[in-house]
Amino acid sequence: MATEIFLPAMSPTMEEGTLAKWLVKEGDTIKAGQVIAEIETDKATMELEADDAGVVARLLVPGGAEGVKVGTPIALVAEEGESVAAAAAAPVAPAPVATAAPAVSAPAPVAASAPVAAPVLVAKADPAIPAGTPMVKMTVREALRDAMAEEMRRDDRVFVMGEEVAQYQGAYKVTQGLLDMFGPDRVIDTPITEHGFAGIGAGAAMGGLKPVIEFMTFNFAMQAIDHIINSAAKTNYMSGGQMRCPIVFRGPNGAAARVGAQHSQNYGAWYAAVPGLIVLAPYDAADAKGLLKAAIRSPDPVVFLENELLYGRTFEVPQMDDYVLPIGKARIMREGTDVTLVGYSIAVGVALEAADKLAAEGISAEVIDLRSLRPLDRATVLTSLKKTNRLVVVEEGWPQCSIASEIAAICMEDGFDDLDAPVLRVTDVDVPLPYANNLEKMALVKVDDVVAAARRVCYR
């Protein structure tokens, strides 16, 4: 039977076109791939090729016709051996396309109008630490190293890769001793090539391994961010759940000391904005250990943000065989009743110091360590807000589009009736980090600013 040729859509946005001219006439024999017409679209003039060989039986739309809807039959082609006259007489179906094609529905403008609700995540509680568990003093650096060593012992698919992680023992000595323990097949020095080794790591994870990729600092991971987001974060979704990318990208994040703007930036809000990633940013050694172990075990890609200034700080860590923390659960570092201070990473220390000062003034501050920036533990923040009715977010990072901004939005959307004062953000100053000692101090988040903000929301 005769084959109909329809006016094709020639771009994602084309709805109608002009049939500029026919390059064949009725009765012509055409070959597969032969250009038979020129079509003007909203973007360009395109050539329409015949899909199959045959004889042009009828031209249904004349050359020069404008505003021809996509899907309108424009010609009839008789197949090999078919009578051209019979083909020409074949009834022409009405434009089937507009109805046959699935309607392109407009994207839902807000999540609320989606036909099904987004799943609500309920974070698990921290594991109970049995009474009598000894606490050992340990630096954050040692805690991170122990977490990796324990997980490498537990699962031989886990390996560590990055610049200077093996022979040099880590640029910041976080991987110290791992090469001796596990050998060069599992502790791998790379050239200086972030984009490349982030991609190789992601590929190895897709291939069934569990890589821990160290960035010397997250500042250098900007060279690799395409793989963190496009390759690692989106793969499980794009594959309908059949291809995973269980990988940990870890390294120091945020300002160090006197290293200037290109080496001092907090990427927490950047990565926390991306669905498909887990983003963790611990403060103390126990959380660093428990969360890094959880990150390595996770079947999902994790961005694990450490802080250079915290590496050398000593904290107590419970001496347990397998201390693994839940992902997505904030931690109440200090209970209080008058105001809630929310922070993560090094800013938790700032908040705790501010809480001490506030206590001396008779203001009882509750301090929350978010620990996990994605998923974000909204419940713990909102429960605390319900109690204190005042909230200040402390963040070592820029203010605009920050985690602090996100917490403020959450408090407005879901805790508005509990607020007795506006949520305040205490962050770094909105400038690239300067080098000069005095300017750097001025730019970074400060305890006194937190104290002042807490007083303000308490109207004191």
Partner: protein, 360 residues
């Protein structure tokens, strides 16, 4: 399989001339022997024919369905390049991995993946191989060793190198074939990957599908070294330039490369000179090249016609048999197209699934 850098002796009558010619298509560092054409059995040729035809007909149908508005967004067709993936895949074994960019439909079919869920992914339906959530450029079938389907030009080169890393780490004897185009060959991460692949002797075959145009930019307008098989030389990766329009030449090169890589000698680069008949994507009017250029290739170098000619010249296959194969393939593609149109759109609940593997 010869693995030494020396040319195989004998065979060609005009040996000196052949060697000189092949020499120009081989890097100056130790490389696999320049392959002689693969002597395929009639059954193998028939299989090549069938697989290439399936890709051609599938892509033609995808093009038609795009025109009907059944396929959205971008749609990059593989028409003209069929010999590359069919020839390479025929040299691989179970357990090997492959990865490619966004022009991926042909690679999936050559991996033996059912055309139905592939076509249904193009139409964005529940029956799609990514359940409608990936689309034409983002498809995966790990059970077939197919690791995507990646939309960012060049990203698959690092990822494929990572797949090779995993093979070596697991000591499973597998190789990773990483397909990319002449356009991707100018991305920086390609060279970062080359460096580590050779440094660590990873079992990876880099296949540059040089179809001459990166979207609308010809190779010579974009590449200071336009002989792309030499692109690995400064990393000591041997390269061969192969006629990618001849499935038997592709297969022969793949055999050499696989032997080299499986022997632990590190990566090999194969530049496949090929051609895409259609535009870069469905919305590309392809004004950057002449009709005559396309016509010339179609008339004289078409991989499917070439294979057909070989089959008929063997005297052991009739025109009728080939027509029967053609009919069978058309039916297969029609079935895939029907499935892709009749499969429902994804359930709304799918919007929220697969963001993360685990619930936290």
């Amino acid at each position: 399989m010869a693995k030494s850098p020396a040319k195989p002796s004998g065979g060609a009558k005009n040996k000196a001339a052949t060697d000189a010619h092949d020499h120009l298509r081989t890097t100056r560092i130790p490389a696999p022997a320049y392959p002689q054409t693969y002597k395929a059995s009639v059954d193998e040729l028939k299989q090549f024919y069938r697989e290439m035809l399936l890709i051609r007909r599938f892509e033609e149908r995808a093009g038609q369905m795009y025109g009907l508005g059944l396929i959205g967004g971008f749609c990059h067709l593989y028409i003209g390049q069929e010999a590359v993936v069919v020839g390479i895949q025929s040299a691989l074994r179970k357990g090997d991995s492959i990865i490619t960019g966004y022009r991926d439909h042909g690679h999936m079919l050559a991996c033996g993946i059912d055309p139905k869920p592939v076509m249904a992914e193009l139409t964005g339906r529940a029956g799609g191989i990514s359940r409608g959530k990936g689309g034409s450029m983002h498809m995966f079938a790990v059970d077939h060793g197919f690791y995507g389907g990646h939309g960012i030009v060049g990203a698959q080169v690092s990822l494929g190198t990572g797949l090779a890393f995993a093979h070596k780490y697991k000591k499973d004897g597998g190789v990773a074939v990483t397909y990319f185009g002449d356009g991707a060959s100018n991305q920086g991460q390609v060279y970062e990957s080359f460096n580590m692949a050779e440094l660590w002797k990873l079992p990876v075959i880099y296949v540059i599908e040089n179809n001459q145009y990166a979207m609308g930019t010809s190779v010579n307008r974009a590449s200071a070294e336009d002989q792309l098989f030499r692109r690995g030389e400064s990393f000591r990766i041997p390269g061969l330039q192969i006629n990618g329009m001849d499935v038997c030449e592709v297969r022969a090169a793949a055999d050499e490369a696989v032997a080299w890589v499986r022997a632990g000698k590190g990566p090999v680069l194969l530049e496949m000179k090929t051609y895409r008949y259609r535009g870069h994507s469905m919305s590309d009017p392809a004004k950057y090249r002449s009709k005559e250029e396309v016509e010339q290739v179609r008339e004289h170098s078409d991989p499917i016609e070439g294979c057909k000619k070989r089959l008929l010249e063997s005297g052991r296959v009739t025109e009728e048999e080939l027509k029967a194969i053609d009919k069978e393939i058309r039916a297969l593609v029609a079935e895939a197209a029907d499935f892709a149109q009749n499969s429902p759109e994804p359930d709304p609940a799918e919007l929220y699934t697969d963001v993360l593997v685990e619930a936290y």
